[in-house]
Symmetry: C2
Subunit: 136 residues, 2 copies
DNA sequence: CGGGATCCATTCTGATACTG
DNA sequence: CAGTATCAGAATGGATCCCG
């Protein structure tokens, strides 16, 4: 019953249908657009392993600016993926850890990361082919 | 042997280790950073279902500009995820379709989209909690 | 119809300096 | 140590005009 008329993959139930991909009312976009930043994945990947402190994360991702690290952490915290614990030591230290929600998100996300690791060569090859063919 | 000293999830083999997250030499970042754009996921989601023409995609994603649509399609094509076929009709039409590589990527990616659909409410709740608690 | 080229407004990023 | 504040440059997005 009405099988091929809709998208084959299940996303309609609570997700968003093609007909409602408009800006604000698509739950999937609302969630995805936050974790699809340049740094979000990296930070999530790090914290999925174990908690880290601010400075540690900074050293772990060498080319992130302190500004972007702060901002990314705030965003991830706001959406409930990571937790922020402040230790009133001297000097103060702040520890970031992944929440249950974060771990549950990371599970499917890891699959994508693994795909990326496994298929990087194919992507590179495709790029090479593309770049070569557009030179006259 | 040497189990917990490394990250628990498998990504080291051909992926990137924590120690080599530096800018250019991380394959995972190289792949992820391209599909994590604001529009890439949407276009992939559309083309995963069936091929579409330029104008159709535009109508499907109402709030994308023609400029960004062109650019996103080019990027996805360059990385080998989608195919571009030009029909020399009058007026001409161009059809975009997903390649085998694209479908293989979309498989794990879909899991993330489904997660987003299923957990949107949790994320919204977390946001509400966060926004409420930072008002003094 | 499916773009490319250009101009402009907005947003994002990174480097630097300063604070509790 | 863990940020905040500021500023400049890069990237992003929209609008308009043009072409095959």
């Amino acid at each position: 019953m009405a099988v091929a008329t809709k998208r084959s993959f299940m996303l309609d139930e609570q997700g968003c249908d093609v007909s409602e991909w408009d800006a604000g009312n698509c739950p999937v976009r609302d969630v995805i657009e936050r974790i699809s930043g340049k740094w979000s994945t990296l930070i999530l990947e790090a914290l999925a392993e174990k908690p880290y402190r601010f400075g540690e994360l900074r050293r772990l991702v060498p080319d992130i600016s302190q500004r972007m690290l702060t901002q990314t952490l705030r965003d991830l915290q706001r959406d409930g993926y990571i937790d922020r614990k402040v230790f009133p030591t001297k000097p103060p230290s702040v520890e970031y850890s992944m929440t249950a929600l974060g771990h549950s998100l990371f599970e499917p996300l890891l699959k994508v990361l693994q795909w990326a690791a496994a298929n990087h060569h194919s992507v590179k090859a495709a790029r090479a082919r593309y770049d070569e063919s557009d030179m006259a």
